[in-house]
Symmetry: C2
Subunit: 288 residues, 2 copies
């Protein structure tokens, strides 16, 4: 299942939505420093936004910026009515001590289109997932869209999430619970992982280990979503490496649906970010 293709469908839907709005949705991306991987991700986000009719503003702060200065920028953007979404690109690349946790939580919850603030995570834990009351974090929300696209019946299904990170695994499990799946969370301290994975009708993997999930762990006909992005050596590439997921691609032989890396979850994460931004603008438009 191509995440790229699904994300393009979403892009068309967003564009149609934006065309009907009285205002122009606007996303501000704050970048501290100049990490090359961040540059790549930000370019992808801007490209998708533009194709969806969403304005972007990229605020580049030098790596000498202080925490206080970043906070002042966020305060200003929180108050700016023309800005509907604020994204702080992580990780922060600064020579000064800046608390990622503090910064993330200073973004106003109603502009937190990344869904990473404690308030939005709390609403998720509390089951307020109707799409109006909170922003869902983009990667797990993208996985949910792929799962929906697969056609699998989520209600009553056995779902297994491998990984418990705050950005992917933990919110993913909670989103599947509220979608009425029976959810098991596995992580680095879990035992008998292959046996438990074999029970999954829906398997989402975000543990950060190249090719961790093997073909013979997967129930035939399962839906397998791979959130991993791991660089492994590859002498045939100019860069000397290539990106692979957390799932052995041979899993495609037994799974009913399997998302490749790259081109699976990645594009969906970007699509969900822009979707959250358009939702924010739409709410703003209705409240005017």
């Amino acid at each position: 299942m191509s995440g790229r293709q699904v994300s393009e469908e979403i892009q068309q839907q967003l564009k149609a939505k934006v065309d009907k709005l009285q205002l122009k949705p606007r996303l501000t991306i704050i970048q501290v420093g100049d990490r090359e991987d961040s540059n790549v991700y930000i370019r992808m986000k801007i490209k998708f936004a533009e194709a969806s009719g969403v304005e972007t503003e990229r605020l580049r702060l030098p790596n000498t910026v202080t925490e206080k200065e970043v906070i002042d920028h966020i305060d200003r953007l929180n108050k700016d009515n023309t800005v509907h979404g604020i994204l702080v690109q992580l990780p922060l690349d600064s020579v000064n001590p800046i608390s990622t946790d503090k910064i993330t939580n200073l973004v106003s919850p109603d502009k937190d289109v990344d869904g990473l603030s404690d308030v939005n995570a709390g609403k998720l834990l509390h089951g307020q997932v109707d799409g109006r009351s909170c922003y869902l974090p983009c990667t797990p929300n993208g996985c949910m869209a792929l799962i929906a696209k697969s056609g699998v019946k989520v209600e009553g299904a056995r779902a297994v999430v491998i990984g418990r990170s705050k950005i992917v695994g933990s919110p993913m499990a909670q989103m599947l619970i509220w979608a009425n799946a029976t959810v098991t969370v596995l992580h680095s301290r879990s035992q008998n992982i292959p046996d438990i994975v074999r029970e999954a009708d829906i398997l989402v993997v975000a543990i950060g280990r190249a090719g961790f999930v093997k073909k013979d762990w997967v129930k035939p006909g399962a839906v397998v979503i791979d959130c991993g992005i791991n660089a492994i050596p590859d002498a045939t590439k100019k860069s000397g490496q290539r990106l692979v997921g957390d799932v052995d691609p041979a899993v495609a032989d037994v799974a009913a649906f399997y998302t490749p890396v790259p081109g699976g979850v990645g594009p969906m994460t970007v699509a969900m970010l822009i979707s959250n931004t358009v939702d924010s603008a739409e709410r703003k438009s209705k409240s005017n």
Copy 2:
């Protein structure tokens, strides 16, 4: 395993802690209306607080109070430096429309000793469970204390939580995940519940159905924590009813540890509330 006994041990520890503080911990309980069950719970909380050296203030508001008036009280208490914990007794018993969700979230996160605000829930989902950065909700935190007391090794254990409520099931699952258990969440839409329960080394039940979990569902030697409180008819009682849990008491024959209802989780919930209040006062004392 008697929750009453464990809660009394905690009471002694809290009292020793309070005796060393420069200030007197203080908890304000806001009660809207006059529900009899709320009166019973509030009396238990006040009794435990007093025995622990914690001052309480019970703010009784008539059922004609408006949302605005409740909000004004919370604002005042948030600003009052002598108040370390604010508890809004639920459910609200009012003739006026008052949003429980709104009220709960207006309590300052650093005085939210019930741990019910979105911010505190978000910190839990994000794994900030060190006891300094957030208040954990009282019932699941009480269950964790009982599980610790049972001596079972939580890390790597299979844990099953039945129920996904915002007050018990969902935060309980998340707390077990951060304690390194492999956690499965079951709920009303789950299938094959008995088979999945049989795999549990640790079983926490909060589904609100009298005697739901049967003896033959439980793995011999498991730790079973019953959060249920259900009234069932009993002609031998003056009131015509009695309280039972979500677990058939016959489970005690196979479980290594089993918490009875009443006298299991209930007293622990109260103990954790007062423990959070003492922690709040201690933090305040250190920041002075």
